[in-house]
Symmetry: C2
Subunit: 355 residues, 2 copies
DNA sequence: TTGAAAGCGCTAACAG
DNA sequence: CTGTTAGCGCTTTCAA
């Protein structure tokens, strides 16, 4: 008996219409708040819907309207607090305007990014927010635009594609941070970055895969050049993505006979690896080595020493990017827009003069 | 001219069929790998699909099959590294079996949880993984089961609902950690937990909203009782959800004239708040106060002192929970199953004897 | 203001 | 093995 209610087929517009004794079209108009309905019908239909526990089938709605009210977000690593915060900005912004968000991780891998994109297209997503894994190999991104779905780039830009983009002032940020280190007296400075290339080794500025990486290296190098410090690329390390690799690269760096006396880390995960490694090899921050990290992660203010950081407006980045996207979805036709958000240097305890 | 390709209507099965000169049904069979097709037709259709850049419309497919190949995950706070890791386990497991995941944050709020659930039901999600925000107020969860969509509970269980659940051995874990503290000589022990109730104040064990919280408090209290320490609830604090609140509660606790000499933190975010607050009031860990935290967050091994933690198999939790769910989706009809995963105490540097 | 009918893109059931 | 037909639940003409 109780089982009668146990498994019932979900109610449809037709069911509601029957119970309310109106036509399907009328019931649909009342439920979907479009067209025009008399007050009498409105209440009857609403009551019927409530009685049946009616919930609209969004897929059917999307099938006919062509709009899913959903936007797709693809980032490299949601567990990176920087992206985590940005995604929260996106979610909040989307929710505020009645859109849903579906989030996919690309693992900073172009093939996975491509697969993710395909899944989302097949789900008839209205538009995309992407932090692209690489700036070469972008055919899939162009395709997406071809089928009429807007794309906004987040954090990393690819000017050639002509998409809207919201980025940070990475070059200026890197330069400012580097100058702080130089002002403290350092001349052997290292920049360690997660993404950008497969190789950990140094390279000339050509072939850098990500605008953020290229920009920061430009800022870093410029600061060194301005200070007359030679061979700026000497202590730059790329592609430090996994935890293992990070420890290894950092340990190698610290074992150099003329090891760097200051490090700039591209994100809080790298900074963490540096903390761990210095602890392992019994180097004290900032006495033996100074540290500045990109991203004001939660823990950076709680450690001893607390760490000097480049604070990034990640949440605002997300808000901004989603509002740009929604404007496009709603038909905005202007030429591509680009917005650059400022970062801020927060000085704490991890920088001092070299010994 | 170039614009001709600029915006083209996405290709449908019908388009592919026309180009391949077969019927719509045949094209669909070839594309969807079901039914049976001759090799000749198969190649023709495949070629046509490639030529047109055909991508199936998953919504249409779901409409007719009733299966979306997507599972919904609802957690309180994806930025909590514990849940972040669990969700990654879920994603990996789902991907491996050909399912997609859509993730929604509930902000540990029942109303939001309810709204999220509704959105997902409307999208015809195949099944749900939920870390419920509270164990009262569960009508919406029951409803979901009523319409025939399986639910598996993650991390927190609600036995009354009869759902599958995967949880950790919270009680044993709390007891073990507490015993370590007691063995070190502590008698004034505090437990600080994020979720559970609105009030920060102490309470009797009745009306605790979450199984995890109740279980841990049981383990904590039991250890104190076993050691003959009176008034075990004295230093327990609930509902420390936001950063502000955390600082405040902790500061109050540390300002007590007979303040606790050891704290057990319910997650890494609380532990962080403790680190920050002790730093503020110039208390040294572990000299002035010992600390153990639930969750082996990344940073806990990199700080000075590194922090002793209850390591939780969050990733495995996610894997396990998703595999249970998929079995249900694929028709498993057995009675509800419950699985408890073991945690592990990792001793590091944040515990010592009281002064 | 309301109703009837067509159609979104796909798969399922049934013939041939 | 292939084609025809019907229908998923909804919105959208078009008439009434």
């Amino acid at each position: 008996m109780a089982k009668d209610q146990g498994l019932r087929r979900p109610a449809t517009v037709q069911d509601v219409a029957n119970l309310a004794e109106v036509s399907k079209a009328t019931a649909a108009r009342a439920l979907g708040q479009y067209g025009a309905v008399s007050a009498r019908v409105m209440t009857k239909v609403t009551a019927a819907a409530a009685a049946l526990g009616y919930l609209p089938n969004d897929l059917a709605r999307t099938m006919t309207t062509g709009r899913s009210g959903t936007i797709g977000v693809i980032v490299g690593d949601i567990e990176n607090p920087y992206f985590g915060l940005a995604v929260r900005g996106v979610s909040d912004g989307a929710k505020a305007r009645g859109f849903n968000v579906v989030l996919v991780n690309s693992g900073e891998d172009v093939a996975e990014e491509k697969a993710a994109l395909e899944v989302l297209v097949r789900k008839q997503i209205d538009g995309f927010i992407i932090a692209p894994a690489a700036s070469g190999d972008t055919a899939h991104l162009l395709n997406i635009a071809t089928i009429g779905r807007p794309v906004v780039l987040m954090d990393r830009e690819i000017p050639a594609l002509g998409f809207d983009a919201v980025v940070l002032d990475d070059k200026a940020a890197a330069k400012r941070a580097t100058e702080l280190l130089i002002a403290a007296g350092h001349t052997r400075l290292s920049y360690i970055t997660a993404a950008g290339m497969k190789q950990h080794t140094l390279c000339d500025a050509t072939g850098i895969g990500l605008s953020t990486v290229a920009n920061r290296i430009a800022g870093f190098s410029e600061a060194l050049a301005d200070a007359g410090i030679p061979d700026p690329h000497r202590y730059i390390r790329f592609g430090v993505t996994d935890r293992q690799g990070a420890q290894h690269v950092i340990a190698d760096l610290l074992n150099l006979s003329d090891r760097p006396t200051a490090i700039l880390a591209s994100d809080s995960l790298i900074a963490l690896a540096i903390l761990r490694t210095t602890k392992d090899v019994r180097l004290i921050i900032p006495r033996d080595i100074s540290l500045i990290s990109f991203h004001d992660a939660d823990w950076t203010s709680a450690t001893t020493p607390s760490v000097t950081v480049v604070a990034q407006p990640a949440y605002d980045l997300g808000r901004e990017v989603v509002s740009m996207l929604i404007e496009r979805i709603e038909g905005l036709a202007e030429p591509p827009r680009r917005r650059e958000l400022p970062t801020r240097l927060i000085e704490r305890e991890s920088v001092s003069a070299p010994k």
